[in-house]
Structure formats: C-alpha cells, structure tokens
C-alpha cells in the first residue's frame, strides 16, 4: 500500500510539467497553483493563464482542466460552468469573413 502511494506521487510529481493547454503552453503545475489560489472557475483560469484561448478554443484542454479542478476542490465537472463558446468557433481568416459581408451586400 505504502509503495503504491509513493509510486503514484512520483508519477504525479513528474506530471506537473505536462502541458495541459497546448495552444498556450500552460502546464498542469500552473493550473493547480491557480486553482489552489482560489480561482475555481474555468473562466477565471482562462483570464489568468490563457488556457483555452488558442486555436482549439479549449477543445483540447478544458476537460482535463475540469478534472484538475475536481481533484483540487471536489467540484464535479457537471457542476462546473464552461466558458461561453465564442463565435466563430473555429478560426476563420479575416479576409473570408470580410468578403462574406461584401458578397452579401451584392446579393441585396
């Protein structure tokens, strides 16, 4: 039992440097530190660490961050509020969005 716990904590220590948000290079350690400082919501973590603000808009990391919040605070993922989904959901070039409006105007 003791050995198992030691092995587990060693893995956990090694995992501290794992990058959780790959778009913005945020590690598990950064996230745990922020949660322990009292920032329990995904939106606050986003503001502080930029997690979920890159190209994937949180698709890659938010689930894992929710699990970290659960481990640190006991707040179940189902009770955690997701940051608001922001259009355009997937990255779209400015040129395409701008042209869309011009094409629309010509239609009218």
């Amino acid at each position: 039992m003791v050995r198992k716990r030691t092995a587990k904590s060693a893995v956990r220590r090694a995992a501290q440097n794992v990058i959780v948000c790959r778009c913005e290079d945020v590690t598990e350690h950064d996230i745990r530190k922020a949660v322990r400082a009292g920032h329990h919501s995904l939106t606050e973590l986003k503001h502080l660490l930029r997690v979920g603000m890159g190209h994937c808009q949180g698709r890659g990391c938010l689930r894992n961050i929710m699990r970290i919040i659960e481990e640190e605070t006991g707040i179940k993922p189902a009770e955690q509020q997701l940051p608001r989904a922001r259009p355009p959901l997937k990255p779209v070039p400015l040129g395409l969005l701008g042209k869309h409006e011009a094409a629309h105007a010509e239609d009218r």
Binding site: T43, E44, H47, M53, P91, V92, L94, L97, G98
Partner: protein
Amino acid sequence: MPKTADAIIIGGGIIGAATGYYLAKRGYRVLILERNFPCSGSTGRCIGGIRAQFTHDLTIRLMLENIRMFSELHEELGRPIEWYQGGYLFLAFDEQRRQALLNAIAVQRRHGLKVEFLPAADCCRVAPGLQPDGLIGGAYCPTDGQANPFYTTYGYLAAMKKLGSHILNRTEVVRINVSQDRVVSVSDKRGNEYFAPVVLNAAGCWAAQVGALAGVDIPVTADRHEALVTEAVEHCIAPMLVDYRPDGCYFVQNYETGHFIGCYTPVPLVPGDRLDASHEFITEMPRRMIRLVPRLASVKVLRQWAGSYEMTPDGNPICSRTPVEGFFVCAGMSGHGFMFGPAIGLHMAELIDTGKSTLDLYEFRLDRSFGKAEAMR
C-alpha cells in the same frame, strides 16, 4: 471573513481593485464585494489600450499620470502587467478630421504630451502595411500604449490582500443601509450585512442601479460594444490604429502575445447591458480592418465577444462624494475605465481618506452640468 471594514467597495473591476489597493496602502481595512469574480464586468472585456490623446484638460492630466504609473506598475505590484508603449495613431481621411486632430494636439501639447501630426507616408512607416489611399495623415503619440487588464486587476487585488484587505466574490449587494443621510452598512443577496463608514460604488455600467440602493441618482448607462481577437502572428504593427470614420474601427496588436484585438463604435449606439455577439460585427469588423491593413486578410479570427461601455452624458467619469455622507461613486468611465484605473484609484483613495485629492477631481463631480463633451471618445 470580517463583517466590518473601514471601507466597502462594490465592484471588483479595475476601479474597485485600484482604489481598494491605494486605500489599503493608506491603512484602510478594505472589503471589496464583487457580484461574480474580478474582471467579470467591463474590465475583462476591454481591449487594453492606454492613451493620453484626449481633449479634456483634466483627462489629459489624468492620463499623463496614468502612463507614468503603468510604466512602474510591475514594480509596485511585484508582477508583470504586459505594459508596452507602442503608441496610438489617430487617422484622418478628411480635412475636418485633420483639423479636429490638430486642435486636439494643440491642447495636448500644452500639457507636455509628445504628440504630432504625421503625413500619410510617415503614418505608413509607423504602422507598416497601413493602406495609404485616401489617408491625409494621423495624430501620433509614441508614449501611449497597452497593458493586460486581467494581470493589472488581479495584481492590484493580490497586493491589496497582502496589506490585510479582502475581496468577496459571488457576493451581490442588494441593499445599502442609510441612516440620517449617512451610510451605515450594505446587505448581500444571502442576507449578510457588512458594516463600514465608507461605501464606494465602483459598479461600472451598473452604477446607476447601485446608486439607487442608496437613493442617489447616478447618470450612467450601458452601451453595447463588440470586439474580436485574432490568432497570434509575428509582431508587425506597434501603435493602436484608430479610424474615427462612422464605419471605422480601432485595433492593436498585443505586443506580448501577437494577437490583433479590436472593436468599433456602432452607429447608431446599442443601449443596454446585453452581451450577445452579432453577425453584423463579425463580418463588418474584418472588412474595416482589412481596408486599413490589407495584409491582415489571411490572419484568422479566434473569438468575438461583447462588453458594455459605462457612459455618462458628457463621456467623462464621475468620481465624487454623494449627498449621502460616506457614500462615494467612481464610475461612468465611458469606455476608458482600464486606462483611467491606476490614477483614478490613487486619487479616489486620497479623496475618500482626506476629503481632497492632489489631482483635483472637482470637474468629475456628480452634480456637474454634464455640458462639455469629450471629443475623442
């Protein structure tokens, strides 16, 4: 958490955080009551621009002080705030705008601001990639800049906590208890009562509703503005570009991260504190950005969102005592709360503590006539 304090601040945006910190530095035990969490109102939705190019004398003086403060804030707070002086470039596409900018420059120079009117070719040097067609020139001030609203606000709050003060998140004030024209306490939604001889209304675009709780009329209304941010790209443009045409826009490249971030003022204005994102903005804003800097066309948009400007009738803030003794208001920043924050917080704390501030905020008093409007909103 104590239920008594020397001063209670309603609102955990930049104004509440900065004023809270400077009050704590003066020895006050401060308690900030925040309805959601820090920066959840307008502070967290702004694009982080900081400029001294205004037309109102007091605002220019305030911003000159703010630029000095932002330059040293990372030392004061002991953490980075991503302050960068990339300048602001206000563009003129017609003679009328050129004249307006020249008039503003004359006023700004009287206060010692290093600002000049650049011909179109020089504008394109300052902002590589800027489309010169139809451009007459622009008012350029290299000392204007940008900072991170989240880092700055959280920095103030952390420094304030170190001085023994507190912030309560998810605590909505629903009553301000006044006895014989003097503020006594405030009550939150859960029925807790917090006592302090001083209560500051720093509730941003909800300042009117908070004022009403104490029976004080505060002329602040919300206007919906929208913004977008692109992916990060190599740093290419330093200044914030401001195009004041009715179909213009303003945007800046975040120096630290490389994202472009920008917005425009809708015509006509959209009153109310709704925060839905519109289809019109996400198609119109890119068109306006590309018109100014065509090579941005391939840069991808990541997000759009909305936020509220907290407008007063003249576009200048209200930093004032009120008819209720001990009840102060610091709100109505009219779209400039983040950039006003540090100096407004410093002088508001001074006003609360000593009854007077070294930068005289008299022109921002609550019972003014609201006649002389700010032209560079």
